[in-house]
Subunit: 249 residues, 2 copies
């Protein structure tokens, strides 16, 4: 029975995709079968793991009742890691879905058949629209990447509010797995201050592993590689390995 | 007759808000009357310029036919700069609007009465949903902040595609004013490479002024101040002053 994890934060550019991809890789390297689902029309996560345009993507999975998750997923070059890719058509799907009475349950229903994975990780767009709601409705847990910049705290409060509503009306089992601090630059007072505030405010919910600001992480998608392949000895890679170990308890 | 500028890029965290606020301030300091409209439920731009919760916000302006732009705007502490603030209720408005047949024209219609401004600048959320479409439908020009990271180019291509569609079906006058490169870190090869690619691909459309990665810019919203007040001699401030001069031609 896979644990389904939504990686979410409506604030843009906080590392949702970086975390989704790199955490998935390290979990896969620890003998877990992992499925990464790219639920963002920007398809950034897809970019780390493949160079070709997908035949079937998350868009078709959401809209076409005849397509199963097994038909939409592809193997990646990373052992144990499969991907349901995204592409720009997911933008149009998002609009069509909004008119569907059962719109929040599309992903949840499609994931029911999948028993071979330990983890299903869903990358979401920077919004609380129908795609993110699908991820939150399907998930057991939410993982919240938080950039150590000023806007972090308000953003988390807003997201936790949304999670409460989803728990009340759509998914009573949904829990917050935790917050992972990202793009942390220990040389700057701002980063240290935000880290302090977040760990105080959400005591016990913040992972010890902190993802540092590391240019290797920004470079790796340009080679269509996750950090585990691109720069396995970099500070970014080590942080993700630590995160995966902490995550898998 | 105000020039209406939408600051847009569906990629998250690329500096839309940083550009919207700081460019507005420097244009205001050059004797232009400027109105900044925060059209993002995250209300980050509002955070730079006020500490109190607004009485009336962009949400009410969009939903309530009886409310005018003049009633929604507030003076800021910056001379010549007014603001239509946002707040979280704009999230709910976004959902309600999507069901409205005239949803794309709400902002455009409300801006018709405003003659006292030289510039009206609209900050948008990281999505191509109803709020961004409102901004693009109302605008004369689009300003596109682009972070010098790998995902920049695809993001711009997608946005230009959306702009074309808006021009075809909603706003024939819409033009792309230009691209402003943000968070530029000249010490990294990635930044220099992306700058190179963007300036080549969009020759003539990229501002000479480039906003450097400068921690002062990330700090300033935590003091509810734009960079012009917080750190007027910083590299970030100087870049925005240069951008404003280039922008105002
Ligand atoms: N720790 C890090 N150090 C350096 N660069 C990073 C780090 N994490 C992410 N990046 C880079 O910063 C940018 C934003 O990260 P990312 O795309 O993962 O955020 P996101 O939350 O998924 O964005 P969006 O809201 O658009 O989906 C990307 O160019 C990414 O490569
Ligand atoms: N040039 C810069 N140097 C350092 N920090 C910056 C710079 N520009 C923006 N920032 C910081 O980076 C973060 C993202 O910037 P910003 O919020 O302006 O992006 P955005 O595109 O508006 O994000 P969103 O997509 O969520 O609306 C913020 O914490 C901001 O303070
Ligand atoms: Mg992403
Ligand atoms: Mg913003």
């Amino acid at each position: 029975m896979a644990t389904i994890i939504a990686v979410a934060n409506q604030k843009g550019g906080v590392g949702k995709t970086d975390v989704s991809v790199n955490l998935s890789c390290y979990l896969a390297s620890m003998d877990n079968r992992v499925l990464l689902i790219d639920l963002d029309p920007q398809a950034n996560a897809t970019d780390y793991l493949t160079e070709e345009a997908p035949m079937v993507s998350a868009a078709e999975l959401l809209m076409d009742p005849k397509i199963s998750a097994s038909e939409a997923l592809i193997r990646t070059r990373i052992e144990n890691l499969d991907l349901i890719p995204s592409r720009a058509t997911l933008s149009a799907t998002q609009v069509q879905l909004a008119a569907d009475l059962e719109m929040q349950f599309k992903i949840k229903n499609k994931l029911k058949g999948l028993t071979e994975y330990s983890y299903i990780i869903i990358d979401t767009p920077p919004s609380l629209g129908v795609l993110t709601i699908n991820a939150l409705t399907a998930a057991h847990e939410v993982l919240i990447p938080v950039q150590t910049h000023y806007f972090a705290l308000d953003g988390v409060a807003h997201l936790l509010d949304t999670i409460k509503k989803v728990r009340t009306s759509l998914n009573p089992k949904l829990t917050v797995r935790g917050i992972v601090l990202t793009m942390y630059d220990k040389r700057t007072y701002l980063s240290r201050q935000v880290k302090q505030k977040v760990t105080t405010e959400f005591n016990g919910k913040v992972f010890n592993a902190i993802i540092p600001h590391n240019i290797r992480l920004a470079e790796s998608p340009s080679y269509h590689q996750p950090i585990m392949v691109y720069a396995p000895k970099s500070p970014g890679a080590k942080a993700y390995m630590q995160l995966a170990k902490e995550f898998a308890r």
